[in-house]
């Protein structure tokens, strides 16, 4: 299922949560909505799900208007940040819920429900927890139950709100690799929200970077990392060093020395230069300029040489 989001605007009182969002998600894609808290990413996810409604704009599933339909009619699997498992039901019943509440005509037989639930528990590798109650589970196990429950209704879209936010670092790393593998197995269009750039870059096919209710950049993990579209993205994703520089006569000056960089269209006057720490090297003064081409390496993405970026509007504080 493809998702088309057009000009979505949503505010809470005087606070504008989303401001003219345009985004199209292809069938079978795994997309991350990445941004700091308050950037509107969860609101966007809830609007796609049908848990919130925008003031303006359109949401289309496969070209059909989704805003006309309630959350129950959209056939979305939603994994909540704190899982929202039904606390009075065991794992098995949690997963079976979506099948049991189907209208009588569409409800599968008890044996089919059983087969489906077993298959899902198998898929998320928690068959042995079927009789446990949510409070008897660890965070990672709850996460898997929530995912199995959402998948039970065979959703055409899977939406995950901070899926790994409440887990400790080790479990988080395991689970996100597992989610990546799972997605390639079931191949359902998926959108997840995260504030963790590492998570977004590692798991997603495409990353949507949000800030203050606007989209800063949409691109593959390589694109947003290597070719950030704005100062915010450069600062927010990956490590960045920000240097106060000055643009004079189409040259970038730092500390009263000209740097061999293009001004990239920045106007004359004070500016900020963002650079990845590993793209810079310190050399003895007068020993010439180091031009070194980086190769792809452990934990690093392939980069080209000298990718310092110049942005106008020096000293403008960037949210992060």
């Amino acid at each position: 299922m493809s998702i088309e989001i057009q000009n979505i605007t949503k505010s809470f009182g005087t606070f504008t949560a989303l401001d003219g969002i345009n985004l199209s998600i292809r069938n079978g894609e795994l997309v991350a909505l990445l941004g700091p808290s308050g950037s509107g990413k969860t609101t966007l996810l809830r609007i796609i799900a049908g848990l919130d409604w925008p003031e303006r704009g359109a949401v289309r599933f496969n070209g059909e208007d989704a805003l006309e339909r309630s959350v129950g009619e959209r056939n979305v699997g939603f994994v909540f940040q704190h899982y929202a498992l039904f606390r009075h039901m065991n794992v098995y019943e949690n997963v079976a819920f979506g099948l049991r509440v189907k209208p009588r005509a569409q409800r599968p037989s008890e044996s089919k429900i059983d087969a489906q639930v077993r298959r899902l528990l198998d898929l998320v590798q928690i068959q042995w927890l079927a009789d446990r109650y949510p409070h008897q589970l660890s965070g990672g196990q709850r996460q898997r139950v929530a995912l199995a429950r959402a998948l039970a209704i065979e959703p055409s879209v899977l939406l995950l709100d901070e899926p790994f936010g409440a887990l400790d670092a080790k479990v988080r790393k395991e689970l996100r690799r597992w989610l990546r593998t799972l997605h390639s197995e079931i191949n359902v269009t998926s959108v997840f929200v995260t504030h963790d750039q590492e998570e977004a870059l590692e798991v997603a096919d495409r990353v949507v970077v949000l800030n203050n209710g606007r989209i800063e950049q949409i691109g593959s993990p390589e694109e947003v990392y290597d070719r950030p579209a704005s100062a915010f993205v450069h600062d927010f994703i990956g490590e960045a060093i920000s240097l106060p520089v000055e643009v004079r006569d189409r040259e970038v000056w730092f500390n009263e020395r000209p740097l061999p960089l293009e001004t990239q269209g920045a106007a004359s006057g004070p500016a900020r230069l963002f650079v990845r720490p590993f793209d810079m090297s310190l050399v003895t003064p007068g020993r010439g300029r180091a031009h070194r081409s980086r190769q792809g390496g452990e934990g690093l993405r392939p980069t080209s040489a000298r990718r310092g970026r110049v942005r106008p509007g020096a000293r403008r504080p960037y949210c992060s």
Partner: protein
């Protein structure tokens, strides 16, 4: 290594002094405080309870039983049971609705509504009864209209039920609001996203999540409905065999110096209190478990 050093420093202190906590200051003080608490409870609660039962059985069990099967007593017990049942059902429904709306939605006037729910707790029951007399009595606001339609509310069962509803309303709602607020709306949202209808969500998710608190509220509501004296006394008219509830019947018997009969009926109410207490203890354990399950 640093950890080892730290523990050795600790050992250097007197271990006994380390173990003493603020509560364990003085054995004498501890026993004095416990003694006062137990003594107070014995004198003001346990002793009267024993007195009720000894008085009731002072002339043997046959006299005790006779006081309970006497027609006026049976009528009073019957009326009390009907009033309690109606109060429970009504408060169950409206308490649930009120708690639901307060805990799960945001709307203007919400805090006002919460204040109103507490009103019966702060108003004297006599005032509550008088309100209904002023509204539905012969000289009341709706009095002439009711008379012309031959409807009687005051000095009849409807008035007694209204007064009881008024004083018992907070119990269910008060019990549910904090729990529902703590549980939030995520599970309901999850249920809706899985395709459950509003009704299915309510009966499969919301209600099971609050069932123990609901039962607890009902229990308190029932105890108050059966025991209510002031508000009911104002609107009842004390017609024997017709509008006397158990508490009113007890008062009449007592005023007529029929002590054994009075205490016999009173012992029934006291028994109810004990059963309520037991059920409450059991329920609190359940609720405690459910709450721990949350985290």
């Amino acid at each position: 290594m640093t950890v080892m050093d730290a523990s050795q420093v600790r050992v250097g202190y007197e271990p006994r002094a380390m173990k003493r906590t603020a509560q364990q200051d003085d054995v004498a003080v501890r026993w004095a405080v416990i003694g006062i608490a137990v003594g107070f409870l014995s004198i003001f609660i346990v002793l009267p309870l024993i007195a009720v039962f000894t008085q009731a059985l002072a002339h043997g069990f046959s006299v005790y039983a006779a006081a309970l099967v006497e027609p006026d007593a049976i009528a009073a017990i019957r009326l009390t049971l009907i009033v309690a049942l109606v109060s429970i059902v009504t408060n169950l429904v409206f308490g649930l609705i009120a708690a639901w709306s307060i805990a799960k939605f945001d709307f203007t006037g919400k805090s006002l509504l919460i204040t109103f729910i507490d009103l019966p707790f702060s108003v004297s029951p006599v005032v509550a009864g008088l309100v209904f007399v002023l509204l539905f009595g012969a000289q009341g606001l709706f009095g002439p209209w009711l008379q012309s339609h031959d409807l009687q509310i005051i000095f009849a069962m409807p008035g007694i039920i209204l007064a009881t509803l008024f004083v018992t309303f907070p119990f269910v709602a008060r019990e549910l609001i904090p729990l529902m607020q703590q549980q939030g709306t995520q599970e309901e949202e999850a249920a809706r996203s899985l395709g459950a209808s509003g009704l299915a969500t309510f009966f499969r998710v919301t209600l099971p999540n609050v069932k123990w608190a609901l039962l607890y509220g009902v229990l308190l509501c029932n105890a108050r409905a059966m025991g209510e004296f002031g508000a009911v006394s104002v609107v009842s008219g004390h017609i024997r065999g017709e509008t006397n509830t158990m508490p009113l019947h007890i008062e009449i018997l007592y005023n007529e110096y029929q002590f054994v009969a009075a205490f016999a009926v009173a012992s029934l109410l006291a028994l109810l209190a004990l059963v309520t207490l037991l059920a409450k203890t059991l329920l609190e354990r359940r609720i405690g478990k459910v709450k721990r399950g949350v985290h």
